[in-house]
Symmetry: D2
Subunit: 345 residues, 4 copies
């Protein structure tokens, strides 16, 4: 296989940096353009903008420019703030490029959801139901990826929650009532923002709930459950930041009366090593963050309290890898017929 020319837009954000790290080690990728959203008037050497990549890459960082991205690349990863990909991605695709978008701009099918959850009017609503658009939760959309022109890479909370509970919905084993999701994330999930609530001095020895029942990943979770199970679902969600830079773990409490064997089957079938190399399931205990940080794995643990008709699901991943850049590379591999795990070892 020949080399694929790849550009990253938004290379100085946390997800962008992680993409850079992973793609530098990918055997079929040639990085050709690193763009940042800042309005730089000259290319900035990587040793200045991202000193940790000094000596590892020769490309400078350049201001974001659609024409430049089109000219230099076959595939563009967009790791930009919400709202920027909505216009940029269609432009790139019309020029024949394939796009993997890490923002929320193409995750929701219903244009009316954007003002509600993301506070912008979607400029390209037709694209939300385009035939070439795939919601990139790899384990559930693997077959659609080879033909994808645009991949909407799932949110970090959404990936954790969906990988945790979809097998249950898929097999019709989830009972009535809302899912209860108590989710904890490291602070890179909030991005590299000059915001005093994200300071080390504020978050050391702290845990802070935020956007209770209002997190923007909610609609993509419900949309995907609906799509897989053909039923409506609802969710109570309490997102929290903890004093860690990376990692995200969702504790999901599901009401069910399904037999324990049926539950085990549902997960065993979906997440065998062959079908889902990056999802590791355990029964009887819940995972810790440490085992997934820095990797593309999602560790799912199941503790079934049959007396209370409550299944407790713990779903842990690295928000910047399986929750962002790693899953994007996994999707990139499948789009190009490459082994799913390439560059993710």
């Amino acid at each position: 296989m020949s080399t694929i020319r790849v550009a990253i837009a938004g290379a100085t954000g946390y997800a962008g940096e992680e993409l850079l790290r992973l793609l530098l080690g990918h055997p079929h990728v040639q990085l050709t353009c690193l763009a940042a959203s800042a309005k730089w008037d000259r290319p900035v050497p990587v040793s200045e903008a991202l000193p940790r990549f000094s000596r590892r890459i020769d490309l400078p960082l350049e201001a974001l420019n659609s024409a430049r991205l089109r000219e230099r690349s076959d595939v563009v990863f967009l790791a930009l703030p919400h709202g920027q990909a909505a216009s940029l991605a269609p432009e790139l695709i019309r020029a024949g490029r394939r796009v993997i978008d890490l923002s929320g701009d193409f995750r929701l099918r219903d244009p009316a959801s954007y003002p509600l959850w993301y506070r912008f009017e979607h400029p390209q609503p037709d694209w939300l139901n385009d035939a070439g658009l795939v919601y990139g939760l790899t384990e559930f959309h693997r077959e659609a990826l080879p033909a994808a022109r645009l991949v909407a890479n799932p949110g970090c909370y959404a990936t954790s929650i969906l990988l945790g509970c979809l097998p249950l919905f898929e097999q019709g084993l989830a009972g009535e009532g809302a899912l209860i999701v108590d989710a904890k994330s490291g602070l890179t999930g909030a991005g590299r923002k000059a915001d005093t609530t994200l300071l080390f001095s504020e978050m050391a020895e702290n845990l802070r709930p935020y956007k209770v029942n209002q997190h923007q990943h909610t609609p993509e979770v419900l949309q995907e459950i609906r799509s897989v199970s053909r039923r409506e679902a609802s969710m109570v969600i309490v997102p929290q930041v903890i004093p860690a830079a990376r990692g995200l773990i969702s504790m999901i409490y599901v009401r069910t009366s399904a037999p324990a064997t049926a539950v085990a089957d549902a997960y065993g079938r979906r997440y065998s090593a062959e079908r889902a190399p990056f999802v590791r399931v355990r029964h009887g205990s819940l995972p810790q963050l440490r085992d997934v940080v820095g990797t593309n794995y999602c560790d799912v643990g199941l503790v079934y309290d049959e007396g209370q008709h409550c299944l407790i699901i713990g779903s842990a991943l690295d928000n910047l890898v399986k929750g962002a850049a790693g899953q994007a590379v996994q999707n990139f591999n499948l789009m190009h017929g490459l082994p799913e795990t390439l560059g993710l070892g």
Copy 2:
């Protein structure tokens, strides 16, 4: 009021140290004996055993000795590993001392619970239902404290959960089904133990669930709910350690169809500034750890998702203060007719 002679047994553990810190600033306390469980053959200067208290106290640390505690003190705080107070406390009380026990040894009424939850046979089962024994959840047992000979100071998880949900049970507003408790604690909750799972290197950038549905504070929570509400309750609990030294926050998910005003009334009545100076209630948002660490406050936040019939309660406290030493001092004050907040400012 004259001075009260006070001993601390277990002064080198985290709760013991915190007791020492608080009692040093208490205007009616004269510290007369600091005992540690270790088998020291000579008194150890505080500057050696606890250098942070150097110059602040003249007492040495001595080996634990029942006669010495009896002779030198009016009140003894026991901050010992589970199982040690069970025999020691009755001995001290028979000699006329009053005891505040921070372990679990006198929290449960049913002797049969001890082998099950604490893995020891209780040596003094009669004391578990003694008339002079008070379960020291201050806000709910204030009236009984002046006559108490023995206070069983509640567990840190139990304090957080009970202060969070008891008003609801008290007013009969909790619906059917198990309480779901997702609780996160700092690592001092595990004590100063030479255990590799508690190392900085293991817990930095980590979150680790443990004792899922098996935490030893479970029975005291259920016993107290039963006592207050005259009904049986059940609970699903996922305790977790986070990369913080101090602080504990429980997210409690309760099924209810009560009107929002009834919920507000239940908490407003219980936790007015006069009736409960250390419980601060807020509506519409959940508390963060940082606002309670280092203080004796318990911050309770309520978010009511009426559509889902789910009340989300966040209950945050410092596990070593309101969850241990601070609540013990609060109980001490009420036992002696002193203002509740003395030494806790």
Copy 3:
């Protein structure tokens, strides 16, 4: 003694909050005004601006206003960004108030130093040598404090370095050559600033040197050494931030050939429990941060490598307490003839 009316200007910064915490527990202080530098158009309840002080104080936070400070207080603590006290303090003093300033605005005697180290032209240069101005390094200026109108509270690095090495200079025991100071600070030292380099995600698992040989506390250190020893000194300084919120420790490497007993005498004399209740000296080992965090102590440890003619001094304190608010309260006590340790226990 009657109560003293006290105002805090800059109450929402880290040092201001710490002042608030300490002064709330001070038996002779009546807090009468909390001002913040922000341009608020209405008073903001403390429960909103500083939720951790909710129920502990009734005063609202108000916009900074010189007339209001003058009217309501006898003493004003200024905890404002550098440059603001320079004009405000003289105004307050002329109206008969006494001022304790925690910024650098009155620490340097030479007006020419301000443009160089603080990047502003001092608007009131005469005040820098006013008879009523005292450099508030308590242990060395105790006698001057009762008559002080204006106290320039030392910088956190300066306090740590000076308490660490002044006894040596005082006794003429320091050898030739520059002091080498390798200093590490927690991140509250940088203030509550919306700056991406201070984010949790940037500082977790990090250590970052900054302002090498250019830190603004340098001139006050050299000025004070000169004043005590009547000789010029020079210093190489590498300030560093570490992944901690609080605490500051300076390792000071001094060339000396003095006999070990002379060194011990110099420190023993200066820092006896009577003369310096808040400085604790140890010989043969260096202090750790943890023993001073949350206290007003400065722990000084001395390791003398006589073979290399090098004295290693470790000097640890809490940057917000002994390095800021605590030392300010210590100075306040001495200004008013109160016991030095009042409110600092």
Copy 4:
């Protein structure tokens, strides 16, 4: 090139785990044996002993057994506590295996140093001066590695200090007087030990100096400086642990009067991208830890205070990568004529 069969002894320690992570991604390595020092009576699945490597490797962990290591491997990495390799390595080498030892057991040439610095009598003193033994500071011993039978991989502090200052000694630019080294390390440097001083609760918000002037890496630093510069050197060293899991940074203060250009030349020559791909030099500023954590880079920054005749050198690396496992793999590559950077990208 064919595949090399590799064993790791001590795979459950922090350095062993890091070796495992790196070697799993090495294209010419076939892992054939994972041994741990614990006395296990049966092989333990990796998913149990090291859950983060679950699904990534099929080998179980086995008890340490010299015959097994000999039979299954061509090269053995020893990541064992000090004292164990001293007998084991010669045994393996006599059987024709090549050994890379990460402990201190073969770093010192003088057998008399072992009782003094490591507290054991070396059982195989002849091997300390064996012709096949190479001190594995890669950048200075590259030429000797192809013929090496036994590599003594340098200590983490030693690597940081030596890479920081050797060019200066090599060119005769260091002045008289002791090197002053103020070094800070993350806690994995202390190993996975059940020791209460390493607990999260003890180290959060802490910094703790230890082994002042007594660290066991001291003699290897002085031996190497002597070997490179043909002169005696001396060192004052203050090792410190900081609240981080990984990373080590040494601030080195050297007295010199060399011209700035000579200093720049010394480093430029040694550490060009061709000669030293993993050492990145900068002038005028000091490095931060974050840029090297998780990589095999050593970042060296130089700030020259010519007025004080003091060169400040900051030398930062990841103690588990360039300070242990990464440098070991780098040496492995050179021993086998492979590109130096293989598996280290």
